[in-house]
């Protein structure tokens, strides 16, 4: 009998397959595709993997595997967590005896404290099976961060092991919040799980440890990017080149705080640079390459990360101004991103001078991309500027950033509508909102 074959489709962009059931299982287990993707077999309808009802009806074998796998993964996690702490997998018989002994010991201990203090210990209270996702969301909404952190610290293992399928998925934003509130990693949880499905070119692992290594390895290239203004090929350089307004405008499902994976990467990168003075190995490497200029490079990159994080995550705003001319590439970008008036935008642009053809072309693009902001919020000026800007400038802007490859069709669409509607910002924004439902051009911590 001919084996059944499947295709998997992501975001109406990437097609995986044809694959048989074993290949599907392999791909799913390695998180090459996930619940938000679609599957189809021969002459059949596409079904989203998260649509449990339809998936069960059309592809019961896939449904059984996917949701069984999610349960088994979270079960397997318990062994991995245990393994990390005790360096060997538990034996069932031994662990059962150990549990009974532990239970008796704890009961005795609890009884002693109840008798002595007349109250229950914090330990018993905190490890409560009644800590639900609603409780967690409520604490986060009420900004009770230290309470939530403590609850998560105590309950994280339970959350990861006892929730299955879509229940685990519901916890994902809080799990991510907790992870990036720590060092960007959780014991036994693969980095791919925290990252999820992200189409933008970005590091696979944005834990502090991983980003620290990434920046450490890139030290000799810092001069190429900042001073020589070469568009260096590397995740670290692209991270610094990300436009924070682009990131803030995109609404990413499965995240609460940070609001996106890219936002998490920026935040973790900033923390790496905040703690760099205590990293002797890192400091030694920077000083060996840049000697007296070491502080300049550290400060400039940290300032850039602080600016990105301010716009994306609402952290403390660093000093970004127009009075002091800063000619390193990333400061020029920050300057343009900060500009709310077209005149300020032009001033930042002119800080750069004209060296390097590739950089110049790219800065032209970034200038035009950053026009969206002042045109949105400076309506009077915008209308008078209509005469100065010709719609042909839109031929310079492609549909994605030529360096970071971020998809900028929403911003391009706004500019097109803006010209067509003769400067009617409100109408232009309305049109973009309908065309791109996951993009809100007005979102920013800057105002």
């Amino acid at each position: 009998m001919a084996r059944k074959l499947y295709l998997v489709r992501r975001n109406l962009e990437t097609i995986f397959g044809p694959m048989d059931f074993d290949e599907f299982k392999d791909g799913f287990e390695h998180m090459e595709f996930g619940l938000q993707d679609e599957i189809a077999s021969h002459c059949s309808k596409w079904v989203f993997l998260e649509n449990t009802r339809l998936l069960k009806r059309k592809y019961p074998e896939i449904h059984e595997y996917v949701y069984q796998n999610l349960r088994t993964w979270s079960d397997g996690l318990q062994n991995k967590i245990y393994d990390t702490r005790h360096n060997r997998p538990p034996s069932p018989k031994k662990s059962k005896k150990a549990l009974i002994f532990l239970f008796l010991a704890l009961t005795a201990l609890a009884g002693y404290f109840v008798h002595k203090e007349g109250l229950l210990t914090d330990l018993t209270l905190s490890r409560s099976k009644n800590f639900t996702i609603n409780d967690a969301n409520k604490l986060l909404k009420e900004d009770k961060i230290s309470v939530l952190e403590e609850k998560m610290k105590v309950n994280i293992q339970d959350i990861l092991t006892s929730n299955k399928g879509s229940d685990l998925y519901a916890w994902l934003p809080i799990i991510r919040w907790y992870a990036y509130h720590q060092d960007g990693e959780l014991t036994g949880v693969p980095p791919q799980f925290l990252k999820g499905t992200v189409d933008e070119i970005s590091p696979d692992d944005c834990s502090m440890a991983s980003l620290r290594d990434m920046f450490f390895d890139s030290v000799p290239q810092w001069r190429d990017l900042l001073i020589r203004r070469q568009l260096v090929d590397g995740d670290w350089a692209r991270l610094l080149a990300w436009d924070p307004h682009w990131i803030k405008r995109r609404i990413q499902a499965g995240w609460v705080k940070p609001e996106s994976y890219l936002g998490a990467c920026v935040y973790m990168g900033l923390r790496v640079f905040y703690s760099i003075a205590n990293d002797q190995e890192f400091m030694a490497r920077i000083q060996s390459v840049y000697k007296d200029s070491s502080n300049f490079f550290i400060h400039t990159i940290r300032n850039r990360l602080a600016w990105l994080s301010y716009i994306i995550n609402g952290t403390t705003k660093p000093k970004i101004g127009f009075e002091k001319k800063q000619t390193d590439l990333i400061s020029i970008w920050s300057c343009m991103e900060n500009a709310l008036q077209v005149a300020d935008l032009k001033r930042c642009y002119e800080f750069g001078g004209g060296r390097g053809a590739e950089w110049k072309v790219y800065t032209d693009y970034r200038y035009l991309f950053n026009l969206v902001k002042p045109l949105m919020f400076d309506e009077q000026t915008g209308k008078t500027l209509l005469g100065q800007f010709d719609e042909r400038i839109l031929s310079i802007i492609k549909n994605s950033d030529p360096y970071t490859q971020l998809d900028i069709r929403a911003e391009v669409s706004f500019l097109r509508h803006y010209f067509k509607e003769k400067g009617d910002v409100y109408k232009s924004l309305q049109r973009v909102r309908v065309e791109f439902i996951d993009v809100d051009l007005t979102r920013s911590y800057q105002w």
Partner: protein, 239 residues
């Protein structure tokens, strides 16, 4: 590669256009929108623009291809609109577009409208592209039923070149394998011939693929031929 186009049995003209070049690794199918003037002009403009853009490009890296294709199709869209604005005879003309680019071990497929691309492999057939019609958009929650005029039908087009300055383009990409066959067609084919029948015919003529476009067109005409029919077939072979 092989392709063919036919006006069908009921239409007076053929508003479909096709181009393919095996050496370039390019195949393009466009269906001028029926009921609107200048559909033929719109489809041939779309094909010409994309073909020339690819011919004049020097694509190298994988990450350059997608933005390039979006740009090429976007420019075709603007050119069609401009032509319509310049010449009232062609005002409001539009077209669908399927543009395939085979580069190294990948296929890049730009898709707008309700023409389709299928993948045939191992006697199985999948429709890769999502039709840009009202029914699909309602199902996915991209349109609210309350926002539509009452007379809009489920199969009515939501996206096509020439209808709006902004036209969102789907660009699919896939790592290709020897033995895969990509079949691109205008709706004149699959409105007449079911997917199962298409699969059966491809399977029957698997060893003589160059005949398949004509065979499929003949089948569509045999069943009524109520629209123009265009079929393009591309087979991936071992290098």
């Amino acid at each position: 590669m092989a392709g063919a186009t036919n006006k069908g049995r009921t239409r007076k003209t053929n508003q479909d256009s096709i181009f393919y070049d095996q050496q370039m690794g390019v195949g393009i199918v466009a269906d001028g929108i029926g009921g609107r003037k200048g559909g033929e002009v719109a489809s041939s403009m779309a094909v010409a623009h994309v073909r020339n853009a690819i011919k004049n490009s020097r694509l190298i890296r994988h990450e350059e291809v997608r933005p390039f294709m979006i740009n090429a199709v976007d420019n075709a869209n603007l050119a069609i609109i401009a032509r319509g604005e310049h010449d009232p005879t062609f005002a409001g003309m539009g077209t669908t577009l399927e543009s395939l680019l085979f580069l190294n071990d990948r296929l890049y497929l730009a898709h707008v409208g309700d023409s389709r691309t299928y993948l045939y492999f191992n006697a199985k057939l999948w429709q890769i592209t999502l039709d840009h019609n009202v029914q699909n958009f309602l199902e996915r929650g991209w349109l609210k039923s309350g926002s539509l005029p009452q007379d809009w039908k489920g199969q009515a087009l939501v996206r096509a070149l020439g209808l709006s300055v902004h036209c969102e383009i789907d660009v699919y990409h896939k790592v290709i394998k020897p033995g895969e066959i990509y079949l691109t067609a205008s709706d004149g084919l699959f409105d007449m011939v079911s997917d199962h029948e298409i699969c059966h015919l491809v399977k029957s003529y698997f060893n003589d693929l160059k005949k398949i476009p004509e065979i499929l067109i003949n089948e569509a005409n045999r069943k009524g031929g109520r629209d123009n029919i265009t079929v393009l077939i591309c087979k991936v072979v071992e290098d």
